[in-house]
C-alpha cells in the first residue's frame, strides 16, 4: 500500500493543521450565524465573554469540560486501538444506573468521600459491562463495533427510561427521575478554587469530579504511552496484522480496550448526577457521548489535547447558553452545528488542507517534509 499523505513536521501535524481545521469550522459556523441574521463577530464576543468573562462563567465552563474530558478519553482510548466507540453515550447513560443504585443505597449512611469512590467504581463497572458485549461480538464474531454500539445506545436508552419511569422513580412522583440524593451523595463544589484567584462564583456546579477527570486524563496517558498494555493497544490500532504476528491476542486486546473505554465513558455519569442535579434523571447524558467524538478528534486522541478540546467545548456550551440569552435567534442548537462542523473539518476532512500545506512547506524548506534538497546540486 502506498502512503497517501506525506509527512509534516510534528508541530504542523499536531498544532497547525488542527488549528486550521478548527478555524474553518468556526468560519462556516459564522456563515450560519449570518444566515440567521446576526453578527457572527458579536456572537463570538458574547460567547467568549460568557464563558470566561466572570468567575461564574469559568466555573460552568469547567463543569461542562469535566463531562467532555471523560467522554473524550473514552472515545480516544478506543481510537488508539483502531476501534470507533460510538457507544460512549449509551455507556454513560447505563452507568447512571450504577450511580443511582450506590447513591440511593448509601447516601443516608456514608459520607460523600466513601460514596464517591463506590459510585465511581459502580459507574465504571456499568460502562465497562455495556461495552463488553459489543467488544466480544467484534472480537469473536466480527460484528462491526460501530453498528453494535449504536444499537446498544438505543437499548441503553430504553432500559433507563423503563427503570426511571418505573422502579427508580419514588412512588407518587410524576417526573421520570430518582429522588434527590441526600448529603452523603452530593459532591463538594470546587468553586472556591476559582475564588482563590479573586473571581466571584455565585453558584456553579463545578465539583470534585473535575479532579477525577484530570486524574483519568493522566492515567490514560500513562496507560497508552507508558505501559505494555498501551503499547499493545497502539500496535493493534496501527496494524492488526503486525499485532497478530507479535503474538498479541486480538480478542483480549479488543475486549480490554473497549472495557476501559466504556469505564471512562461511564464515569461521566458522576458529574451531572452527584455533582450537579443530585439525582439521576431521564436523558441526563444529553449527547455528551457524541461530543466526546468531537473532543477526541480535536484533541488528536492525546490526553493533553483532549483536556484542551474539552475546555473549548465547555466554553461553547457555557458561552452558548449566554448567547442564546443575548441573541434569541441563536439557541443552544447552534452548538450542535458547531460540534458537527468540528467533527466534519477536524475529523472527516482532516486531510483536506494537508496537500496544500505540505506543498507550502516543501517550497520553503524541503527538509521539513522529509525530502532531500535537490536544488543544491546544480548551483
Amino acid at each position: 500500500m502506498s502512503t497517501p499523505y506525506a509527512k509534516l513536521p510534528a508541530w504542523a501535524d499536531y498544532g497547525l493543521i488542527p488549528l486550521i481545521n478548527l478555524a474553518v469550522a468556526f468560519i462556516v459556523a459564522g456563515f450560519v450565524v449570518l444566515l440567521v441574521g446576526e453578527n457572527p463577530l458579536r456572537a463570538a464576543a458574547i460567547l467568549v465573554e460568557g464563558a470566561f468573562g466572570r468567575g461564574q462563567g469559568i466555573a460552568f465552563t469547567l463543569y461542562y469540560a469535566t463531562t467532555f474530558i471523560f467522554t473524550g478519553l473514552s472515545v480516544a482510548v478506543a481510537v488508539h486501538c483502531g476501534l470507533f466507540n460510538i457507544g460512549t453515550e449509551g455507556q454513560a447513560y447505563i452507568a447512571g444506573l450504577g450511580v443511582a443504585v450506590v447513591c440511593l443505597t448509601f447516601d443516608a449512611t456514608l459520607p460523600w468521600w466513601l460514596t464517591f469512590p463506590l459510585a465511581t467504581l459502580a459507574a465504571a463497572a456499568m460502562g465497562a459491562l455495556w461495552a463488553l458485549l459489543p467488544a466480544y461480538l467484534q472480537a469473536k464474531r466480527g460484528s462491526h463495533i460501530v453498528i453494535t454500539t449504536i444499537m446498544f445506545n438505543f437499548i441503553a436508552a430504553s432500559i433507563m427510561v423503563y427503570l426511571l419511569v418505573g422502579m427508580l422513580k419514588p412512588p407518587g412522583s410524576m417526573a421520570p427521575q430518582t429522588r434527590i440524593f441526600l448529603e452523603g451523595a452530593q459532591l463538594p463544589k470546587l468553586n472556591w478554587v476559582i475564588e482563590l484567584f479573586g473571581a466571584r462564583v455565585r453558584s456553579a456546579p463545578l465539583n470534585i469530579s473535575f479532579l477525577l477527570a484530570l486524574l483519568m486524563a493522566f492515567l490514560t496517558w500513562v496507560l497508552i504511552w507508558r505501559t505494555r498494555l498501551g503499547y499493545e493497544i497502539r500496535t493493534y490500532g496501527h496494524s492488526p496484522k503486525a499485532a497478530r504476528y507479535a503474538g498479541i491476542s486480538e480478542t483480549r486486546i479488543i475486549i480490554i480496550t473497549m472495557m476501559i473505554s466504556g469505564a471512562l465513558g461511564g464515569m461521566m455519569a458522576l458529574n451531572p448526577t452527584m455533582g450537579d442535579q443530585h439525582n439521576v434523571a431521564i436523558d441526563f447524558v444529553s449527547g455528551a457521548g457524541f461530543v466526546g467524538i468531537a473532543v477526541a478528534l480535536m484533541g488528536r486522541s492525546h490526553p493533553v489535547g483532549i483536556v484542551l478540546a474539552a475546555i473549548l467545548f465547555g466554553m461553547l456550551y457555557q458561552g452558548g447558553a449566554e448567547l442564546a440569552f443575548e441573541m434569541p435567534a441563536i439557541s443552544r442548537d447552534m452548538i450542535v452545528i458547531i460540534q458537527g462542523l468540528v467533527i466534519l473539518f477536524a475529523g472527516a476532512l482532516e486531510h483536506m488542507f494537508r496537500p496544500s500545506i505540505q506543498a507550502l512547506f516543501a517550497s520553503f524548506s524541503p527538509k521539513s517534509v522529509g525530502m532531500a534538497a535537490t536544488k543544491g546540486k546544480g548551483a
Binding site: 458485549l133 444499537m151 446498544f152 438505543f154 430504553s158 442548537d333 452545528i337 472527516a348 476532512l349
Partner: protein, 323 residues
C-alpha cells in the same frame, strides 16, 4: 371492534410506519453496496424533512417541497461524498458530523425563518401529500375480506408511500439487471478490479450517493409532509438508525430490506397499539422493550445467531488509487 378490523388497522399503521424506514434503508443500500458506510441517513432524512416542509409552506406546493427535500438531501450526501470519497476521510466520522449539522441547523434555521420554536408552519391541504384512493377502492369496499383489504389497507396512502414500495423492485432491477448495478456491487466488493477495468471508482460512488440523497429526501418528505403536517424538531427520532439496522437485517438486499422494514414497522405499530394492554400468557410488555426490539434483533443477527450478515467487503475503506 372485531378482531379483523384490529388486524387491518395494525397492518395499515405498519405500512405507514415502514415507509420512511424503507426509503432510508434503500438509500443506505445504494451507498453501502458501493462501499461507502453511511450512518448519516438520519441527518439526511432530517434535512429532507425540514427542507420539504419549509419549501412547501413558503411556496404553497407539495411538489416544490418534495423537490427541495430531495435537493437538500442530495447536497448533504455530496458533503459525505466529498469527505469520504474525494478526501478519503473516515466515513463513520463524516456520517456523525452530518447528523449533528442536520440536527442543529434544522432547528436554528427553522426558528430564524418561522419563529415557531423550530417548527415549520402547519401545512395546508395542497401543501402536503394527501392520501390517494386507488381506483375502484370505493366500489369493492363492501366485499368481505378481499375488498376490505384493498380499500382499507392498500388504498389510501400517499404518493410517496407508493413510490417507496415501487422502489423495491426498481432497486432490485437496477442492482441486478443493469450495468450500473453490476458495477455498483463490484465497487463495493473490490474497487481495484473496477478501477482496472477502466471505470472511475470515484464517479461510481458519487452516483451511488446521489441515489442515497434522492431516497433520503423522499423519506424526509414523507415524515414532514405526509405523516405529520409540518416539521418538528428531531422528528426522525432514530429512524435513520433503525433503517441502518434493517439494512443489516436484510443482508444488503432490496427485497429483504422491504421485509425487514415491514417487520420493524410492525413492531412499532404493535408497540403503539399494545400500550398498556396486557397480552395473554406473557402479561404486560413494557413499551420500551418493544421499542428496543429492532435493535436487539439486529444485535442478535450480527452475533451470527440468525444467519450471518456479511457487509460489502470494501465498505468503509477509502479507495486509494495506486500511483
Amino acid at each position: 371492534m372485531d378482531i379483523f378490523n384490529i388486524i387491518i388497522q395494525t397492518l395499515d399503521s405498519t405500512l405507514r410506519l415502514s415507509v420512511p424506514l424503507l426509503l432510508a434503508c434503500l438509500a443506505g443500500l445504494y451507498s453501502e453496496r458501493s462501499g461507502i458506510f453511511d450512518i448519516g441517513l438520519e441527518g439526511k432524512m432530517l434535512v429532507g424533512a425540514f427542507a420539504g416542509a419549509a419549501a412547501a409552506s413558503v411556496f404553497h406546493s407539495a411538489f416544490i417541497g418534495l423537490g427541495m427535500a430531495i435537493l437538500i438531501s442530495i447536497s448533504f450526501a455530496m458533503i459525505h461524498g466529498f469527505a469520504s470519497i474525494t478526501h478519503r476521510g473516515n466515513q463513520i466520522v463524516s456520517g456523525v458530523a452530518i447528523n449533528f449539522i442536520a440536527a442543529g441547523s434544522t432547528v436554528i434555521l427553522g426558528q430564524a425563518w418561522f419563529q415557531q420554536g423550530g417548527r415549520t408552519p402547519a401545512l395546508a391541504e395542497g401543501e402536503r401529500f394527501s392520501p390517494i384512493t386507488l381506483p375502484g377502492a370505493d366500489a369493492v369496499k363492501d366485499i368481505p375480506v378481499l375488498g376490505h383489504l384493498y380499500s382499507e389497507l392498500l388504498s389510501g396512502h400517499s404518493l410517496i408511500a407508493y413510490i417507496a414500495f415501487a422502489m423495491v423492485p426498481i432497486t432490485w432491477w437496477v442492482l441486478y439487471r443493469t450495468r450500473f448495478g453490476l458495477r455498483l456491487r463490484a465497487v463495493g466488493e473490490n474497487p481495484a478490479a473496477v478501477d482496472t477495468a477502466g471505470i472511475s471508482v470515484t464517479w461510481l460512488r458519487y452516483r451511488a450517493l446521489l441515489c442515497t440523497g434522492v431516497l433520503t429526501g423522499l423519506a424526509g418528505a414523507y415524515l414532514s409532509m405526509t405523516q405529520n403536517g409540518g416539521f418538528v424538531k428531531d422528528m426522525t427520532a432514530g429512524k435513520g438508525y433503525i433503517a441502518l439496522a434493517a439494512l443489516i437485517f436484510a443482508k444488503w438486499k432490496p427485497v429483504n430490506a422491504m421485509f425487514a422494514c415491514l417487520l420493524f414497522g410492525f413492531l412499532d405499530a404493535l408497540a403503539i397499539r399494545l400500550q398498556g394492554t396486557p397480552l395473554p400468557i406473557i402479561g404486560k410488555v413494557p413499551v420500551q422493550f418493544m421499542q428496543a426490539l429492532p435493535y436487539i434483533l439486529t444485535v442478535v443477527l450480527l452475533a451470527g445467531f440468525i444467519g450471518k450478515a456479511i457487509p460489502p467487503r470494501a465498505g468503509g475503506v477509502p479507495y486509494v488509487k495506486e500511483r
